[in-house]
Every structure is written in C-alpha cells, then in structure tokens.
Assembly symmetry: D2
Homo-oligomer: 335 residues x 4
C-alpha cells in the first residue's frame, strides 16, 4: 500500500505528540517534513523520528509535490491562513482546534477548502474516544429514545500557565470548545441559545488575565433538547471527563477512565484509583483514531468525520457564551 | 418517658404515610387525632392504627389541650392558614412543603409562628437521608475545600396525573423546590440569581396544563458558588436522585439507591439493578428521621433542622425560576 | 384479621431483636409471652414492648393454649429439646440456627415436628435478603444458564468474644453455616464433598480456644457445580457479604450493602462509603421478611421457606468441614 | 543509544504479536531476524515489519554475533532446548510460558542459563499490567497489613480449539499457570500445598481430550496465607480477570478492564460495558512493559523481574494441581 506523505506544520507539544503517535501506530503514513519557526530546536527530535526535512518555513512543505497532506499544529492565530495556503497548494488538511477566534477568517478558510476540494478535518479528538463514540452510536441507534437533557462535565486537573491563558481566547474558546463539539456530536442538532455563568474560584491571577476558571453553560438545541456543561480549571482528583444524555427511553453516560482498576478497602472506605490525569493519556486511543480517520477520508475519498463546519460551530457557540457571560443574559444564535 | 401527642391534619397519601411511619418507628409519639375533610373515608384506617379521634374539622384538634403538635399534610392552599391557626393555638407545627405559593401569606404565617414561639419544621425530608446528610457533613467539615460547583439531578420515574399538575404550582414549586432546598442545605449560602430553561418533552398534555416537564436551572449563590439542577418528570430507569458538590479540595457525590445489590453479567453487559422507583421507598429512612428530629426539637427545645426560613427560601427561588422561564432571562433575587 | 399469638423463648440479643422487629413491622403478630432464664432482667424491656407475660420457664408458654407459635432464640444446646417439646405441645416453631451440633438430636427433633404436623422454620435470614433472594430467583429463572461455579465471601467485621467462640461449635458451625445454607439455597443441589483449609491469622487466642479464624472451604455439589467459601473473623473495612454464581449463560453477583451512597473524590482516590458494619443492620429487611414468611406459612398452611431439612443439611456440611480440616483431606458426604 | 538486536524464534500468534508490539512501542529494540519452521509463510509479514532475515532454523539466529537476545515464542516442547542453546550461544533470553512440562528439563535449562550468566525472563506478562502491579506494590507497602486470603478469578471468554487443548498440558499448566504466577507475585511466599477440584461443564469434547474446563484450586502458602483460584474456559460476558488479597488492615482488589466506560440506564437496569474480550487487548500495556523490562535488565545488568525460578514454580504447582485432581486429595509441595 502506498504511504500517505505528510508534512507537519508546528512542532510544539501537540505537533510532536501527533508525529510520535503516527510513527508508533499508523503504518501507512510517512511524516516526510516538519516546519517550525524554531526549526533548530527540533532537529534532533525529527531525526530520531526519521523525519527527512526540517524547515523553518511552512511554504517549503506546501511546495513539495510529494506531500499529500498537512497537519496544522501551529499557534491558533496562524491556522486560517495556513488552511488557505494549504488548500491552494492542493494539500489535504488536518487542523488543530480552534480554527480561529474570528468567524470571518474561518469562513474564508472554509471557502478556500471547498474551492480546492481538499479534505479538511478539525482536531476534535474526543469524538474518536471509544467511550464517547459508543455513546454517540447508542444515541443514533435510538436506544435512549429522543434526547431530552445533555450533561457534560469537563474539568482539567490544573490550570495552564497564566501566559497561556492570556492568549487562549478565554475558557470558552480554549477549553469548553471541546464540550461544545461533544454536545453537537452527541445530540446531532445545532445549538440555538447559550447562557453562560462563570466565576474565578481557582486562581485570582486568572481574573487578572481577564478570564474565569469555573463555568456553567446552558444550551438550548434546535430540536428542543436542553443541555448543560460545567467546567473547572482545577479538579484535584484528576482529569474529569464525563457526559450523560438522558432521553425518553433511558440514558447513556460516559464515566471517567481511571489510572488502574484497583480498589483498596480499609477503615477509610472503598477506594478506587483516580481518573487519568493528563489529556494525552486519557485520549491516547482517540488521537490515533482521528489520524487514521483523516487518512481514511483521503484514501477512500470520503467526507471527514469532523468537518470544517464542525470546526466553525463550536467557535460560534464559544463566542456566544463569551457574550452571554459579559452581558449576563442568554444569547440566541442566528444562522 | 412522656409521649408527644400529635394531631394529623390531612390524611391523604403523605399524611397516612407519616402516621404509619410514626406508628412503626417512633415510640415516643402518639397520634391522638386525625382531621380530614373526608373523615368518613379514613375511619377504618385510623382505627386500625389506634388513632382515637377522627374529625372533619381541624379546629377540633387545635382545641384539644392535650395535643402538643400538629402535622399539616393537607393541600398546599390550606397550609399557611393552618400554620397561623395552629400557632395561635400554641401547637408545635410540622408542615409539608411548600408552605404556600404566595410569599405574603408565607410571611404572615412565619410571623405568627414567631409570635407564638412554637416550633415549625418544614417537610423537606431529603435533608434527613443518610447519604445527603453525610454529603452535607463532609462539606461542612471542609473535606472538599471551598465549594465551586453544585450539581443536582432530580428526575421522577413518571409524571403525576395531569389534574395534579394543574394545581401543583408548576414544576419549579412542586418538584424542583426539593432541589432548591437541597442546594441551600449543601452549599450553606443563599441563591442570588436564577436562570431557568425548560421544555415539554415527556407529554404534550403537560404543555396544555401550562407546565413544562424537562428543565435545567442555573443558580448563582451569594458566596460565588455556581450550580445547576436538571429535572425530568419521567426517567424510565427509575427515580434518579443524585447530587455532586465540587470544590477546591475534591468533590462529594451522592449516587442513587438501588433496588438490590445484584449484578447480572452476560453477553449484553454488566447489569446492575435499577434505582428505587418510588420516593416513599427511597426516602423511607429520611421520613422516619425528620419526624424524630421534629420531636427532638420539641422535647429539647432546640431550633428545628428545617426552619420557616428554609420553607420560605425555596418558594422565593421557585418563583424566580418561573419568572426566568417566562421572561427568558436570569432573575436576581433581592433580599 | 386474627393476630398470631407468639411466645418468645430466650430473650438474648437475637430474641429481643426479633421481638422489636415484629413489634415495629409485623402488625398481625402479637408477642404474648416471653420466657428467659434471667426473667427478672427483661421485665422492663418486655413491659415496654407490651408483652403480657414474662416467665422463667418455657413450659409456661407451651402450656398456654392461646399461643400459636414459639420463637426459639435460646442457646443452641437447648434448641432440639425445645423443638421436641413445642411440637408435642402443638406449637408452630421458628428456631434460630443451628438446630444442634449433634445430628441424632436434630433427627429426633425433626421426627417430632413431622409427627406433630406443625410448621418449623429455621432462622437462616439471609435467604430473605432482597439481593440474595433476587440472585436465587434469577438463577432459578435460568438467566445464567446452568451453574458452574459458586463463590461466597463472608467476613465478619470483628471476632466475637473468646468466651463465645469456645461454645460456638467452631467457625464452620457458627459462621460458615450461614454460607452453607446460602450455597444450597442458590445452587439448589446438595453438597457431596467438602474440603476445608483454615488458619489462625486474626487472633492467637482463637487458636487457644481450639478454633480457626480464616478459612477457605471448597464444595462439590451433586449436580456437578463446584463452589468455594472464604471466611474471616475480621474485615477492618466492614461486614463483607458477597456471592457470585457463574454459569453457562452468565453470572449473578451480590455486592455489599454500603452505609450510604456517598462518593468522595480527592487526591487520594475515589472513596465510597464502607459496607454496613453490623449484621442486624445489613439484614434488617431480611429479619422482617423471615418472620412474615413464617406467619404466612402458618396462616396459609404452606411449607416454610426454610425447612427442618434446610436446618439439618448445613450442620452435616459443617461437621464434614470440621473433619476435613482435622484430617487434611476432602470428606465425602453420604446420604 | 545503541539498539538491542533481537532474534525472534517462532512467529506464531504470540511471536508476531511481540514483534509488532516492539516495532510500535519499543524504540531501542531492533528485531533483526526471525526463525520459524514455516519460514515461507511469514516472509511478507517480516518484510513489512522491517525484519531483515527470515530463517527456517533458529541456529542461524544463535550464530549471529550481532544478536544480543532471543525471544522464544515457539511451541512449548521446544522451549527448554532452545533456552539451553541460546544460553550456550551467550544470548539473553525472553521465553514464553511455560518453560516446559517436565521439571528435569526445566532444571537443566535453568542450570545452563546460570552457567552462561545470561538474562532469562519468562513471559508472565500479567505482572506488568498496571493494575496487578499496583496491587502488588500496595501489598508490599504494607497497606493491607499481613495477607490472609488470596482470591483469583480467571475465566477465558471461550475455550481454545480441541486440538490445542490436547497438547496444552491440561488447564492447570496452560491456563491456571498464569494464576499460580500471579499468586506467588502478589503474596510473595511459596505455595506449600495444593488442592484442586474440577469438572467438565463447558464442552464434553474437552473431557474426551482428557482435560477439564472448570476448576477451583485451593492454595496454602508457606507464610500461612490461604488462597483460591477459580477458572472457567468460557465466560460469555468476556475475559474475566480479577484478584483480591485480603489482609489484616484491608483488602486490595483488581477489577476487570471494560471495553468502554459507557453506562446505559433503561428499564432493564444500569448496564455497563463488558470486560475486554481478548487477552491481547486486555494485556496490551503489559506486553509492552514486559519487553521494556527485559531490555532494561540487559541494558542495566539487573535481575529480570520474572526469573527462571518464577518460570519453574508455577509448573511445580501446576503438576501438583494435576496430581491433586487425579488423586482427589491435597498435595504437599516439598522443596
């Protein structure tokens, strides 16, 4: 089988993680080149992984006729332009979330993708987690009947550095955006109204950075389902990632993935092990599966499982949540 | 030990249940008399239970000098006047929730109670459930640190008759009112803002009756905690009663109480037994404990564990939720 | 409805518990009299419970024509003679386990019961626990197919006083006897072979008393099912009472009954509450149900749910286990 | 870092699985050569995996001076001779379980390993499973006090082909051998006595093949701990792999690893997903970790975590279990 030749754009934490995941688990992909503005810092890493070319400029990847697809893992502010350039260069595109904080720029990027008729998949890896995927499949199979209530709990084990928070776009576009995607994925209907409430409870520095760290967001979907997401930047017991969809015939829940299956019983109680603490561990299988699915969409010329629209909508919801929090009232989303 | 002599006012489902619970479990209480507008219907029941007097008119109970306390279990519209009359008659009062749908009438009733210096306990029995009580105690002991997020799931196994729904005061005053009380009980701070969203998803007849059957209510507390309650009138898998309070040092959750501890494993999965299906089963121990606590407050002259104010506040929150739903915006609660 | 008039013989811990349970929960039973060799000690207790007569000699109960049935709750060495006397007096008999440590004496007692044609129910209350009963019903309904493996875990929270252990008949006849009954109840086949292994691990005083405190007993049933029971006199985390029956189509397990449904999550783990710690709490509902079933067998003239043979067989198995431990080899049970 | 060069001997299911696992997950190992009696069948597979040499004869691997270590994954009857030959050739040895069914041959092999001073690790991968490893560590750290009772449940999802069963050495040497290893690993004491009971409950063909499919094995350890293992060749609900060690200060249990963390609640109950069904999925991480540990023992010249003695002892116990079943009595193990 012919290997898909891929260029990696941006070799920060998530970029390197994708490359290593592919190397270990996806036989039919070759990462031929990597481009990063700090090219010199990643040379050893790239060589060790068998990546042939290390560039400073992403254009060198786009100009390489052998390259079939790019993985855009650079900072968010570069995503939409890189999507446009990659599309024009005829490359299939896997782009990390979010596409952009600006809806116009997203629309422009998606237009170019459509014109160029290349594949675009957005990096909402949670859809590929076996538990969330099974919840989705059970809902679609009608096993819980008509969905009535969606609940998502999504709490990080600890906040990112304040410097990161300052450029993150705020909790709703940085963290809750995954939950907005999960909400759409599970319910299969668009969000029509958002009401956000939030506080700074974890760290006053986050307030100084203009953000919140604790939030509850209520959603109304077009199909009448109502939902709620709760977020915290700091859950001391581990990475807390749960969903529940309640419907007319039952409910489907996804519980946490624990570090081990051990249970200690003593005078203090019956003690299970904590949830996994790190998103790269928790979603390891999902990261492998999303890349395989991206390749699958290229090889078999099928629609990616996370489309450009799937990249756009959570940003729309996130911006509405931001506005709701600022104005203290629910925000209707017009389409 | 001297027995507390009690008069039961209203011998509908909950009134008879209280009487039977007392008879079987509370040695030091004697139900001397019962008053019900359908007195003739309950004569056999009362005789069988060893209740001496069956009256049509509650005043006969209030005039009996031997009676120490009354249990007001009649319809909601009679509660506030009965509280006033009972207080004036110098009886200690246990009154089922809600006190009233009208805040002025509640205030008048509470004023009379204060003037008469009698005990008044409101029938929020969930506070006495061993699991919820332990969650409360763990929070108060500081074991989860400072509370950040409260979540309550409260779903009935099936809706009440439409005729009942029409006079129920609406889902927020009939069903969610218990959750508003639980919210205050667990967090220990007053609700400052309410945002309610709701739909009719279970039965269109409920819409015709002017009510909703599926709701999500967001709460902001004075201390900065944020919370969310989700309700449904129909959970096919059983009576779903869960809470979770998430804080700076951990979280405390209360899971459902299941019918049995059996687990069947077969090709279809690992199947635990459903939650208990009926509130009188689920809260059996709580109903015993609340009556014992009421007696305790009389015998030892201590403040009841669910005060008049605890009866008032959930009505305030419920009315705010109703207004929020009608106006589509969050409602601040001024005090 | 006519009340069943009952005489209680032996008012130690379990006797008093039965009387109190009946008083609170079983309307149609009147405990008319109690006989106890320390009659003077229980007078206040009896009066408080409304028991009319307090005797020193059980014969006064047996001579009372009004008494329908006796509850034999005296020490084990008196059981078989009291069964014989009660049967001759035409009383229905509820007798605590074990009937006796001597098989001949049990046979004589059962013969008299048969001659007198009175009901005899043995106090194996665990059969009436809702969880164990449901496991039994699921097995009988064929839902796990043909049983292959039985596992019972039965561990006490702490050992009884050494003085008690000395007269207990040994762990197999005092503690495991309940598990032998559970084994027969769940599998519905007789035990054909027993192999017991045991150690003193909890308290060397138990060794001095000639007993063990930690045991594993392997059972072979007539129908080919194999089983294992593990016992300990001391589980620090609480009263551990679990079973599992594994069959050709699946397995049914009974897990522990916990003190509450609370779950605390913190850095140390996800901490559920301990199992209930005391057999009278754990089996409260079962104790009520067994007395109701006994009355039911009298009122409707049906075979008791725990027969004399059900009292005999666990003693046979227990004696075989004792012999197996002494001889270090499996013991076949001939019938 | 210099890569460890490895030769794979035997490229059946487990051999190929090890090679693929190494390729994907263990950077510092190069599988240079493979030898298999059906060499022609594995050429494509080997090429695809980048293995340079494919031999029919294992000696070609042993003669290759560049090769540091061998993975012996051929049929059990070839293991001991291959260990001897590999040791003489100075290769470090990873050998699948069991070493041999014949104790003399094992002793000879272990003697050669000692003479040659090469590393030998036996393929008891379960020790490297994160859950079992954590249970082990918790026991060693004294958190459950002194162990009293060990329980292992080990049930396969379905029996292997009858042709395999005929040459498997019987259930105790093929299947229970893993549990004997786990027992020694967790308790840290040698087995002093074995009593086995077993039946054919799953498939009469297994009886014709001279084996059983359902077993309970009781163990006495030198330190006084007692234990029990139950096995079945067929658990319809999935691969059932649990342990529990009960001690003076508490117990540690390992529960099953489920396919996903989903929970479906409906009228039928609260339905969790089945345990993983296949040992290669269940122990995926353990297989990676055991190879890494083997390499670690070579690179750092430390004692392997599963020694030759660890390979010998379970065979001794397995043979004792076989004898116990045949003779119907407990068998003491003399050392």
């Amino acid at each position: 089988m012919k290997k898909i030749k891929v260029g990696l754009i941006g070799a920060g934490r998530i970029g390197r993680f994708h490359a290593e995941t592919i190397k270990a688990n996806v036989d039919f992909v070759e990462i031929k080149s990597v481009a990063d503005i700090f090219a010199e810092n990643i040379k050893d890493w790239a060589e060790n992984l068998g990546i042939k070319n290390v560039y400073k400029d992403a254009n060198e990847i786009l100009e390489d006729k052998e390259i079939d697809a790019v993985l855009i893992c650079s900072s968010t502010d570069t995503h939409s332009q890189l999507i446009i350039d990659s599309a024009k260069a005829g490359k299939h595109i896997f782009c990390e979330k979010p596409i952009d904080f600006d809806l116009n720029r997203i629309h422009k990027a998606l237009d170019e993708v459509e014109k160029a008729n290349v594949k675009l998949q957005i990096g909402f890896q949670r859809r590929f987690d076996p538990s969330f995927k099974r919840a989705h499949d059970i809902i679609r199979a009608g096993k819980i009947g008509e969905p009535h209530i969606l609940k998502i709990t999504s709490r990080d084990p600890s906040p990112p550095p304040i410097e990161y928070i300052k450029v993150s776009g705020g909790i709703f576009l940085d963290m809750t955006i995954h939950d907005f995607d999960m909400a759409r994925f599970l319910i299969g209907s668009e969000v029509a109204e958002v009401f956000a409430t939030g506080e700074v409870r974890v760290d006053p520095e986050i307030k100084k950075a203009g953000d919140i760290d604790t939030a509850i967001v209520t959603l109304k979907f077009s199909d009448g389902t109502i939902g709620v997401i709760d977020n915290s930047r700091k859950a001391v017991y581990g990475y807390d990632q749960r969903v529940e969809v309640f419907g007319s015939k039952g409910s489907i829940a996804v519980n946490n993935d624990h570090l081990t299956n051990t249970v200690l019983s003593n005078e203090d109680g019956i003690i299970s092990h904590n949830p996994k603490n790190f998103f790269m561990d928790r979603y390891k299988d999902a990261y492998i599966a999303e890349i395989k699915a991206f390749c699958d969409s290229i090889l078999n010329n099928i629609k990616p499982l996370v489309t450009g629209k799937d990249g756009l909508e959570p940003v729309i919801i996130g911006l509405a949540a931001k506005k709701s929090l600022a104005e203290g009232k629910p925000i209707k989303i017009e389409r």
